[in-house]
Symmetry: D2
């Protein structure tokens, strides 16, 4: 998955983003370049041995260990940057994108930029007809997010801005705003100002204390259709003779909070607007 192309050819070419997967030990994600080599725990592989190979084929390292040459999915890419973003897992991102209406053509604001992983997920969806505006208070982090997004060829769909969002967003009437910050409740006035009527607000928060504050402020800023939920993902052991869940799982990444901007009569500013189950 890159911005420029989905490779429909059978074979890899220089510049392709590849996922190299060993039999037992995770994967490597990198761009193919003549002359380069990749170091793994199971030996070294020359990029020249990978370029021109059929996608999905097995290659071996200098020490004889087998690897598969694959095209990464968005989920694989997110996983590979997971360490720095803490709580944004694919299970949450897929649900966020679909719940907040993120499809090609959408204009969406994000803050903060983080490592650029969620930025890339947004960019890969909105593409040329849409736009991602990614706000970050620290210049250093903004640069990193931009670089990571550029590596995936998705930077042309994103505008990175170094800014304290306390000062508000430049854009108005956007389709959706996602805040990946510990204190989204402090910026809901700014969110309301830049969101189009009916537009989606979303955030992800680790603790119930943060969720409680966010609900209070969403109501105070007259958002409607507030929803709070959490996603859980349970893996199974792939053994047809002893089919059962894995022993341990991720118990918590974060609570998801969604809301929509509505325009209402003064008469109706009450809590009956909360979404019902």
């Amino acid at each position: 998955m890159t911005g420029k192309n989905i490779s429909h050819s059978y074979k890899t070419t220089e510049g392709d983003l590849v996922q190299l997967v060993g039999l037992h030990h995770g994967f490597h994600l990198f761009f193919l370049k003549h002359g380069n080599s990749i170091q793994t725990h199971r030996g070294v592989i020359q990029h020249d041995n990978l370029i021109g190979k059929e996608w999905g084929s097995m290659v071996k390292s200098h020490s004889g260990n087998p690897f598969f040459l694959l095209q990464p999915s968005l989920s694989n890419i997110l996983e590979s940057t997971k360490r720095s973003t803490q709580i944004m897992y694919p299970k949450d991102i897929g649900f966020i994108l679909i719940t907040m209406g993120i499809v090609p053509g959408v204009r969406v604001i994000e803050a903060g930029s983080g490592s650029g992983a969620f930025t890339s997920a947004l960019a890969s969806m909105v593409r040329e007809k849409g736009r991602v505006y990614s706000y970050e208070i620290l210049e250093e982090k903004s640069k990193l997010a931009e670089e990571n997004t550029r590596k995936l060829g998705l930077d042309s769909y994103v505008e990175f801005k170094v800014r304290d969002i306390q000062l508000g967003f430049d854009e108005k009437n956007v389709d959706a705003i996602f805040l990946d910050l510990p204190n989204p409740f402090d910026f809901l006035h700014q969110v309301h100002n830049s969101l189009k009527p009916g537009g989606y607000f979303g955030t992800i928060l680790p603790s119930t204390n943060q969720v409680i504050k966010t609900i209070v402020e969403l109501k105070r800023n007259s958002f409607g259709f507030i929803d709070v939920c959490e996603t859980m993902l349970r893996y199974y052991q792939v053994d047809p003779d002893r089919f059962r869940p894995t022993d341990r799982m991720v118990a918590h990444t974060g609570y998801l909070v969604f809301a929509r901007k509505v325009i209402k009569d003064d008469l109706y500013i009450d809590q009956s607007l909360d979404s019902e189950e």
Copy 2:
């Protein structure tokens, strides 16, 4: 969300897909057309009273009940066709799309077409540079799926085919194949033939018996990186003074099974290819 446009204007126009949401009772999804009217449990509303209104604004039915005029998200659209598709919930669809690498430009096969809900989700992602091939054995169901996809303006990205997939798929080298059928294990040879190396297979199955059979057949057809999981979604009551989960939840929609087509040496056709946690 429609195929033709994401409305960036403040106001609705004829032909827009709108979501009309009452204070307590679900929502209505329809296209605006001069002269039409919409019947609700809380009174009648003329489309002419909705056309030209600001998105997100509140309108009233002839009997005085308030409604909000919103643009639906993909999730809303899926929900509105949920009844006929049984187990494809937004929580699963978001995760499937992100795990199987469904982004703009992708070529993906789906069988069966069902009510067209998942077809629409795929189409809304792949767009003009990609393609959805939707196979269905019953002509009647194929027609319904096509009609539902056309209503959302997404039909131009999809080819509907009435076909018993026992006979195989016309396309070769596609990026991903999703089978929404009770017996995917019967068609994995056909899937393997049409998938590009490294391409993604996916299915959703209600019972463990089906999952067990599918794992056996995936291994027999030398797929790699098999993953089985289930997503769970837990909603919370939106009350900042008594924040807690809702009393009841959906306990099960289906088990998700994913795998990738790999090309391997004969030497390595063993179960060590299963994905590890």
Copy 3:
């Protein structure tokens, strides 16, 4: 399950607590008495037709509908009084009993008495060598709990007290105290006074706001080994050809909070006493 006896005979006798279970529609719980009859949705049954029958046998109502004559478990008894106690489900009660060390011989305080269901569970465990002290502020509720406990033949192990626990408990040095009240955080000083060193405190609370307050007060009253958890119970459809979870489940009953009374040096009154995972 009653206080007086576990029937080891094959057959029912007058005075036995029986569970009468129809094929599809829940169960009835009552004591056998010559001359009485039981009304069900599926017809009437005379007690005299049940007395002297083998346990587990099938009997028919006057209208020919079949029922099974069973001895109820503690879990069945709790279910039958569930309506009035709201959040105390068997899944929670079993875990509470085992976590708080409730075995024969234990002295335990409970407040409030509720419907007597949890009182009965405690009494059925502690028996003649132990003691349950059940506090309740409302006389009417205390009477009801006592009556329900007497019906199960467990009242001789319980002392019911009508009291505002703000005034403290009469007993000192008890093994465990469980508060089934919305505001346990208001009574932790009283709990500390009556608990033996190392003794167990427990409570069940529906909302996170209540849990947060309780944690604060437990720390302030120098309790140690604080644990917060929730139990979830997922049922499966009993179909060997389509084995899978039921569609819906109870998502939340309450958060369980446990702690132990410890005696510490002033030097060690810090949060490092919290239990670690």
Copy 4:
């Protein structure tokens, strides 16, 4: 918790089972004996420094590290033998005891004996008026279970038998039978023979394949009221300012299967006897 006594005195005496808990690193479980000493990662402690101390008090090791002197609960004891029993966690045991009607006075069969942890749980409930019959095919394991049960002072309530249960159980008309074996489906005829009508059968199984086989055999042996479920336990971080679940959890211990022996007319041997939700 021991068989002989629940200590109602403030202070420890020789022979007491104590739980010594450090600030951060699990706990030690042992019997107090004059002259003995206990080695910990944080220094050595003489038993003589523990005997006569108040329960709940803090003591220090020779190297100055603090520990608390507590009475263990059944849950603590089970945890301490957990390593050898694999899947019997307190969350499951509490639910099993309450569902299968295990209270003082009950006669219950268990196979196999395992490490004696579940045996001890059963014994601590049934006491002098009840009886645990614990079957085990390996003499060595039976001895170990007996020894562990004796350590807790609970051995007088248990009869250990070295036996292949293929040959059946000596007892008839028992209240409950629990099989902690990988193939309970092979012994349901024997279970049926020894269970009283209406009595409870229970088992815990890691894989769905085993559950499916067990359901088939339960139906074939005309058990009724079959229930399959799993318990999940989710811990929370005990931080009132950032209250939220722990990051990871146990995802799976085992599926619980319960059923009851019923006596039915030939006419009614059909699947309509399955318990309904």
